[in-house]
Symmetry: C2
Subunit: 430 residues, 2 copies
């Protein structure tokens, strides 16, 4: 039975209990949200290694952050990827996606599952492409058999959620051609399927044989993350007919998954001007039965490579405060190179800030409590508590210790003109 | 004659011409905005050293970014402050504020003016406090005479805009006491004036003798930046009656300045949940005759010391897209120590990203042009152009060069599965 089936039948699983406890929500309310498909709990039912920190994603819950890791053919260092998982987890990532395309992908995935305490996602098209290329020398030979084989293999290993690129269809490509984008397609899966469809003049196998994918998803209770292969790759291309038509297709496919009680999320852009973000979130919710919205950023300008964790934090905060549920991090190395460990840390922290700010804005649970505790510590000029409450205590301490201060109570910014001290003194004379 | 007087009389100054050219707006339209006080051009009319890059701030213009620099008693290194100005200017700051409180303040300010090609702002209360403390040993002895003397001295040196803390009054303090904030007052000027008012049981001299301040401002055509001494210091304290009552006082004072054709801006928070930012911008515009709004951040969470350039970029982007005109940067060292050169760079870039994203969102001028150029370079896999167009070309190049790639056209993230290449190939088979 899938999680949705269970809640519909009134069965309260361990996963529901754990998530309700972690989020401080009523079990009954959470069951209702899962039954209505407004919340998903990515968790492979045949997982051997259990997840330490289950993660509920969706309405009324804390906004979650995903960290992408993985090898590429230019950089295959599995121990490095394990370290990325560790640092992402330490700084509060809620899920990990393995996007490896270089090296022994089966072996890498097994190592990752062994070393990951968070829900794990994958993008099966990557492995399917890599294997096809290795075996037949032509990635265009890829067919649904191999795709299903890869999906099943990854499900067997214990993967909890998978990006499925079923929205790039003959029809959505037609819109793309009409639209005349600057950057066409920037999703690797999306670009491949575009080329496959053009080469074979056939329909996208993920779309064509979606029911067979659903069969596997049902068997393992995989959460399907319907990928936006046609997401805009720059601000100029955002919110065009190709993107929105694909969203409509994803909404139809989500409905088909839900009819079989399979959990589903929708992936979203991408690159987008600030003023279009809210409209995109509303569209996703309306067109896709309010299933959780999983955003990549969005990045609110194209001109800041090296700082795209910040452009994504701005966009992600606005998206989440508008109703997006799950933010995929972007690291400073985006558009330039594969992220290293420090980039992973920077990316997780930037998007955690965005998610937290949005949760305060949406009044989710006790989001403001930590901010209140920090503010009280500031009032008391209690530096140790401030540092311990900080999102990155090590960095906060480094800054605090950078310059010696004459008065231990104050900081090197204000010195003897500390506003807090002045107010305290003034109370005495009143 | 002040700039406002000139435009009202139909005189088109060099400053108007320069700003119109830089912003690509019609001179007539700009004159109207200056006459209506919706745009200010901070520029001391008796300046000896001319500003290289004049800066128009306000409606329909590009959002501007200010970088604070300055010594404190714990850190007096004037050459370091000069380097901060250089780096802030290089990365696109539009104005500099000297907040020095340590060392020979007159000498420091002169050095700064000599080395700054941007409009310069100051906070006269700082020097007044420091001098009073040095001379009489008790900062509470400060009176309006010294305040006016400092303002005149700074004006004589060529300072273009000044923060005037006239909103902390007996009446606004009463609201503060009713409200029971966590962090009371975090503005140094505000905290001092609170303590001064309580100590003397007299009205704030900046408020009491505002006309005398206007006399000097008129003489030098100083742009007054009406400081929000009661700005919230944490999210919990935001948008309370003390803050809004002070804003009403600032609106009244702005009107008095405008009646004498003196340019004026209003300073704004501070710390604020995302969902309150737009309301605060609307309030400022409505209560203060639409004079430019100068925001410090706002910071959208309290828990990220070490990353407050990011929390401020999120808040600043939302504020600017809602109509704020001028963003004061926040550096990663905020709340922890006085910023060093690297912090200044990080702060300027983060807030420039916010300002630029907001300008795209508001459709200001040709904001999107650079993004379009970057997107075209990405489509062409033209790495040199991408790097040159980046907000920080050095950092972009460092990332690009971090890992060697097999194919010079691609990056180490996607390698042979480059989406852009796949789409290009697919066009050939169509």
């Amino acid at each position: 039975m899938t999680q949705i089936e269970k809640v519909k039948k009134g069965i309260i699983s361990e996963e529901i209990k754990q998530v309700a406890l972690a989020e401080d929500v009523e079990i009954v309310a959470l069951c209702k949200l899962v039954a209505e498909s407004k919340v998903v709990i990515p968790y492979n039912s045949k997982r051997k290694k259990k997840i330490k920190n289950l993660c509920g994603i969706g309405k009324n819950l804390r906004t979650k952050v995903n960290a992408n890791i993985g090898t590429s053919s230019d950089c295959i260092r599995i121990n490095n990827e394990i370290k990325k998982i560790e640092i992402a987890t330490r700084y509060g990532a809620d899920a990990i996606m393995d996007l490896s395309t270089g090296g022994d992908l089966d072996e890498i995935r097994k190592r990752i599952i062994d070393n990951c305490t968070l829900p794990l996602g994958t993008v099966p098209i990557y492995q399917a492409m890599v294997e096809e290329f290795k075996e037949s020398g032509d990635v265009q030979n890829l067919d649904i058999k191999r795709i299903l084989k890869v999906i099943r293999k990854q499900a067997d290993d214990g993967v909890d959620f998978m990006t499925i690129h079923a929205g790039v269809t003959k029809e959505t490509i037609r819109s793309l051609e009409i639209q005349k984008r600057i950057l066409d397609v920037v999703s690797r899966g999306g670009a491949f399927l575009l080329s496959w469809i053009r080469y074979h003049q056939k329909e996208n196998p993920f779309y064509q044989d979606f029911d067979e994918i659903l069969d596997i998803a049902e068997e393992y209770d995989i959460t399907l993350s319907l990928g936006d292969g046609l997401r805009p790759g720059c601000l100029y291309d955002a919110t065009d007919q190709a993107q929105i038509k694909e969203l409509i297709v994803l909404g139809e496919l989500a409905q088909r998954a839900l009819e079989r009680n399979i959990s589903v999320m929708i992936e979203g852009p991408g690159h987008m001007p600030m003023n279009q973000i809210k409209a995109n979130v509303i569209l996703e919710k309306e067109l896709c039965r309010e299933v959780p919205f999983y955003c990549l950023g969005p990045l609110v300008t194209d001109i800041a490579p090296g700082y795209d964790h910040i452009t994504a934090a701005i966009g992600g905060a606005i998206a989440a405060s508008s109703g997006a549920d799950f933010l995929c991090y972007v690291t400073p190395s985006e558009h330039l190179s594969i992220p290293d460990i420090e980039d992973v840390k920077e990316g997780v922290i930037a998007l955690k800030i965005a998610a937290h700010a949005a949760d305060i804005s949406k009044n989710i649970g006790k989001a403001l409590d930590k901010d209140i505790a920090m503010s009280k510590a500031r009032k008391e000029l209690n530096w140790e508590t401030q540092i311990n409450l900080a999102i990155d205590p090590q960095k906060a301490r480094k800054y605090r210790d950078k310059l010696s201060v004459k008065d231990e109570k104050t900081c090197s910014m204000c010195g003897e003109f500390c506003a807090i001290n002045m107010v305290k003194e003034s109370v005495k004379v009143r």
